[in-house]
Symmetry: D2
Amino acid sequence: MKLKTVGIKNIRYPVQVREKSGGLQATVASINVQVNLPRKYRETCVNTFLTVLNRYQDDMSAEIFSELLKEVKERMQAHSALLEMTFPYFIEKKAPVTGTAGLMEYTCRFTGEIGEGGSFILSVWVPGTTLCPCSREISDFGAHNQRAEINLNVKFNGFIWAEDVINLVETGASCEVYSLLKRPDEKYVTEKAYENPMFVEDVVRKVAELAQQHPDITWFSVGAESFESIHKHSAYALVDSDDM
Amino acid sequence: MKLKTVGIKNIRYPVQVREKSGGLQATVASINVQVNLPRKYRETCVNTFLTVLNRYQDDMSAEIFSELLKEVKERMQAHSALLEMTFPYFIEKKAPVTGTAGLMEYTCRFTGEIGEGGSFILSVWVPGTTLCPCSREISDFGAHNQRAEINLNVKFNGFIWAEDVINLVETGASCEVYSLLKRPDEKYVTEKAYENPMFVEDVVRKVAELAQQHPDITWFSVGAESFESIHKHSAYALVDSDDM
Amino acid sequence: MKLKTVGIKNIRYPVQVREKSGGLQATVASINVQVNLPRKYRETCVNTFLTVLNRYQDDMSAEIFSELLKEVKERMQAHSALLEMTFPYFIEKKAPVTGTAGLMEYTCRFTGEIGEGGSFILSVWVPGTTLCPCSREISDFGAHNQRAEINLNVKFNGFIWAEDVINLVETGASCEVYSLLKRPDEKYVTEKAYENPMFVEDVVRKVAELAQQHPDITWFSVGAESFESIHKHSAYALVDSDDM
Amino acid sequence: MKLKTVGIKNIRYPVQVREKSGGLQATVASINVQVNLPRKYRETCVNTFLTVLNRYQDDMSAEIFSELLKEVKERMQAHSALLEMTFPYFIEKKAPVTGTAGLMEYTCRFTGEIGEGGSFILSVWVPGTTLCPCSREISDFGAHNQRAEINLNVKFNGFIWAEDVINLVETGASCEVYSLLKRPDEKYVTEKAYENPMFVEDVVRKVAELAQQHPDITWFSVGAESFESIHKHSAYALVDSDDM
């Protein structure tokens, strides 16, 4: 056995992430790190990692995360390293009619790998509403609908903001989800979902098409899970750019 | 400090539970036990409990569970004892139009306490659909709906089957949830939910009224959580028989 | 049914919490709110709550949280209100020998109730090491030990910092837990745990005694769960100030 | 987009699994299924799957699971299908000195894929104790130890019982974990762990060597996570047969 992958799981750490709007957003990340390294450096592994992380925590972005990963690999004298940082990310979102502002929570993940080469994946989990086309078609009134969770993972050239990837995903469901809705907004989202019936596989296809059209996205995978309102199980669909 | 409550958490154990239909249902329970006992008996606590449990696991019911608890208390020479057993419970349920049979999963819990006196609580968690009255009223078509989870806890005289408590809860939402639905069934549940719009507090009130009318139920509490399809948070309502 | 308790569950929101050291700590809270209110005010409930929360999020403390709760009750014209805010809280902690600084994560919760009267509970969850007295006594060398989680909930007069409650709990186990340990520190914590063997009920009693001696704490409950290294289940103990 | 992967997540179902000892063990499985299929067959997907599952639930094994998967693919006219079934599995285990019998819970998973070709993976999650070599070496007495969870995934020729894979994993840690231990047993496991200090990467290497020596195992991956008693995070190690 030549390679020894060791790591730390479930480190929780406060970090500040750069926002598209120019600010820094304070959040709490869950971090996993794995490294392939000679046994003699093993004992100082946690200390080295946390020391490096500590210098980066106050100003994080997809680009800076890749520098952090590079420094982790070098300081640990590792052959390769894998770093995963998952965090809640809040974006102010305006209700569709009244414009009432509310904070929406999304989940983001940065995943970096570095060895001979290297790769970076930006992942987002975004809630949306799905309204069942079959239920609408066969019923005299109404249609079952429910919250769904859509996950998009992308590799890209240059730089992409999490805000833009989230925005791309949000347009993919029967209707977007909001934190604050007044009556005219609730009327709007109810009717919009009814006018845009989609199975989870329709959501996945639409998000995939949008990702494919994005000039900087070089690879992606997209999944959607719909917490069916008429069943206890979830409906699920999945596609990646290699399938297309 | 006169009393010392010690216990074991998260014991997983296969048990067989008596069904209303006359059979025995094999399931896997998560068990917590707490006892107040003199320190000298402390060390043998786990062994004693598992030895007693082992003799009861093959034939469990609300009544037999109370005997198990009594024996646990006596064998441990405890002043008092608390036992909680939570398990998935499956009931065959027929689709509303075609009668297609499918297995529905519910969560049940037996909670027993014994000291000077004693008490027993039967808890069930049942999925249901809620359809928003406000959304229906203000929209030209459609209405947002979603899966909800309804929890009913009851104390009672005599004996009550979990099947009957689950059945009572299922009639409380905008529509019941099924595991298998063909097209005529899906039309039925879609339209039924649309014709029975309910906020979570309406569900809670209806289940509470049914529990109040039950001749054997002497105390209850009921909660409902609705996984809103247009938001990321849940709506929630709660009432117990002392409030009524 | 006179009272109708309705609420929202699982609202996630960024908040800033006052630190004992004088700063503000940015974290992400999970919030539940329940109110008893006339049906006519029900629909605006989420909007009102989030609007009020929004004005308080940037500067939170146990005292300010109680003002927030009071304003929520008044603005909603509720008979009573219950508010729960749970959040990860980070404190810099120095390793016991080398003094190496690292960030420790604790979980804190503020729970406030307001009706005729009112109450406030501060809860903390703190990791610690337990080393089994029985295992040490009967073995020629070594003793099984493991991570435990200790939960202390307190009511108090005046004001208490979460930092001080966490500190009180940390002295209650066989040894404290740290995020960063160098070799002399690891020797220290290993030997300290071995010299302080404790069952979970010993931990609970020690923390209870410290809470009882605290001049401002008027009520408390303490629980400890030990993730046994030689079993798959947890050992558990529990006491509250009414038992003492 | 040629392929459309759709599926169902989180179906819970009672199943009976063949035991090495000749009996059938009743347990409750969590099932995910994904299929690539033409859109026209999509609507009947859940019904078809549950109908097929229903005929297999009473007598399941690794071999029968592969037949189930084949029938699912054919009945759905799918190009390919993926089926995952995770379940708690109980094995009676005797304490090492007194021979006291107790039930241990393990987690097992069957994962099958079928398309042009096909594959089957048997996964087990097994608890064990790890005792830190560094802590033991530098301390005058004691050594920190903790529960770890070891995951082994295997592909194989012919047939392998889950019992045998679990047994292989259990010999890989500093000491095995038991559900029932009397005093002589507790002395034994305490001393055995102290005499077999292992980092998670040592556990992973030992399990990997045992898997490599097994005549029927053709591929494997093994991971171990140690819930460090002196930290709040986990130590982690990972290897697969392609690395060796």
